[in-house]
């Protein structure tokens, strides 16, 4: 059983007993450097989606922490994730974003790797190496584990990390809300072509905490709610379904994953949505009716923003998007944002969603823009010597968390906060940081996987 009573981070810099977190964890460069080792080499990280690499030879250059990696499908159809760095002298073997190739050749000295990572081409292998180089030992560095979960591709550098579905634990059913088709089936999704990538001047944990369940910052989005970019012409999304629901936050202390959810009463009528387009409205109405029929009681649950530890953010419903917050130093984050649609949806639906998604999210998104302004200046105001002496407050809702939560026959797993009357809680944020502190203190997965 892991010891989590006190460490430098657990109940130290991250003081969950008092509900306070030191600003140092956001702005301190030494802590950042430790974090690259303690968190990003050991956790499961989102790489991409299967629909991005359908054919042998297809590749997509992604990222794990600070590092560039290549997601690639080999000639036999198997997926790999490699460090994008030649084993010889480090040069990136792929400076393109995506494509199809039979080999990855390093421009520097010409070493060449097959799509399964094996070193196949070494210039002057006979003349200069006298055939003594053991090519089998010099293939591209491959991740320790890789898994495809309902189309999403994940990888970790740590062979000791639990398998991905175990890493997810009971959060799985909530992650599914981002990965299943709108009608609740396993019909495939696809990534709309083009992953948005942009730089923001803040530590990656600001957006990570935001998506973990910052239920308090709606005031920042007042302007977008006023102008109305939602798919029915008002607000930023359709709200009837939420208005009919009980609003909960769910977090999993062992795992560090958390999300918001909305739970409808049994027998609720399907709320109208996407009213700006009759064709799209029909599509979603039919999808929702089928989803509820398939899922029975669990069809009452819909998702809102969530976070898979450490840095994968989920938007399951309006919009549907997955983001990764790549660390780029303590003071900068590179955001990558994927937008998802049902692969089999008619063009009119995909076109409508595509336009809605990019006016909601991303640097041109009227909602996300205000989040980024807050993260930017929260970070910059926290860098000073005096500022760093004053921890952030994370007390909201402490003591109101519930386990074994049941709502009209639905047993919700994990730690639950009922926000319907409370309006807001910081439990999900506390959960995220508690797990982060555990990763920072723990020497290995032996201490981190204490559910075993």
């Amino acid at each position: 059983m892991a010891t989590k009573t006190k460490g430098r981070f657990v109940n130290g810099l991250v003081d969950m007993k008092a509900g306070k977190i030191s600003r140092e964890i956001f702005v301190n460069e030494e802590i950042y450097a430790e974090e690259q080792e303690q968190v990003f080499t050991r956790a499961w990280l989102f790489i991409g989606h299967e629909s991005q690499v359908p054919k042998p030879g297809d590749y997509f250059v992604s990222g794990m922490g600070e590092e560039s990696v290549i997601l690639c499908r080999d000639r036999e159809g198997a997926l790999h994730v490699f460090l994008n760095s030649c084993r010889h002298r480090g040069m990136k073997v792929c400076r393109y974003d995506e494509g199809n190739t039979p080999v990855f050749t390093c421009p520097y000295h010409g070493w060449s790797y097959a799509t399964d990572g094996k070193l196949v081409g070494v210039p002057f292998f006979k003349d200069a190496y006298h055939e003594k180089l053991d090519k089998s030992k010099w293939g591209l560095v491959e991740v320790a584990q890789m898994e495809v979960y309902k189309g999403s591709i994940w990888a970790t550098w740590d062979p000791a990390a639990p398998p991905f579905t175990e890493y997810l634990g009971d959060f799985k059913m909530f992650f599914d809300l981002s990965l299943e088709a709108w009608n609740g089936t396993d019909e495939p999704l696809e990534v709309i072509g083009g992953v948005q990538k942009w730089l923001i001047p803040c530590n990656w944990k600001f957006p990570a905490e935001n998506f973990s369940g910052d239920s308090y910052h709606n005031i920042s989005h007042r302007s977008v709610d006023m102008v109305g970019i939602g798919p029915s012409g008002t607000g930023r999304r359709d709200t009837q379904e939420r208005a009919d629901s009980r609003r909960l936050q769910v977090s999993f202390p062992d795992r560090g994953h958390q999300t918001g959810i909305y739970v409808l009463p049994g027998g609720s009528p399907t709320a109208a949505s996407y009213q700006q387009s009759p064709e799209v409205a029909d599509y979603f109405r039919e999808a929702e009716e089928k989803r509820r029929a398939i899922k029975g009681e669990w069809g009452r649950v819909t998702g809102s923003p969530g976070e898979i530890f450490p840095n994968t953010a989920l938007h399951p419903r309006q919009p549907r998007s997955i983001a990764v917050w790549h660390p780029r130093g303590a003071h900068q984050t590179e955001v990558w944002r994927w937008y998802l649609v049902d692969a089999g949806a008619p063009y009119a639906v995909k076109d409508f969603l595509r336009q809605y998604y990019i006016r909601y999210s991303g640097p041109g998104g009227l909602t996300e823009q205000d989040d980024m302004e807050n993260w930017n200046y929260a970070h910059s105001a926290s860098r000073g010597t005096i500022a760093r002496r004053h921890p952030y407050s994370y007390e909201q809702g402490m003591g109101s968390e519930q386990t074994n939560f049941e709502l009209d026959g639905l047993k919700i797993p994990g730690t639950v906060m009922d926000l319907t009357e409370a309006k807001s809680s910081e439990q999900n944020l506390r959960n995220f940081y508690k797990r982060w502190a555990e990763f920072m203190d723990a020497p290995s997965w032996d201490e981190l996987a204490d559910w075993r």
Partner: protein
């Protein structure tokens, strides 16, 4: 010595003079400008290579002997 070949432009069927006196025919081109996949047609220094396929490095290409017609 022949002029420097842009390996990117070689096509299947092109015949090349390569190092160690060998002659190869291009089988396919990975379009990396560094390697081509080729089959040995003649290899006087090491006849065991004849008929085998291998990757040929750009700097080992001495001369383009024949561009494939089609």
């Amino acid at each position: 010595m022949a002029e420097v070949v842009n390996v990117r432009l070689l096509k299947a069927g092109d015949k090349l003079q390569v190092s160690h006196g060998a002659t190869v025919v291009v089988v396919s081109n990975p379009l990396d400008g560094v390697w081509i996949f080729a089959r040995y047609l003649a290899s006087p220094e090491d006849p065991s290579l004849e008929g085998t396929e291998d990757m040929i490095f750009a700097q080992d290409i001495i001369e383009v002997l024949e561009i494939s017609g089609d």
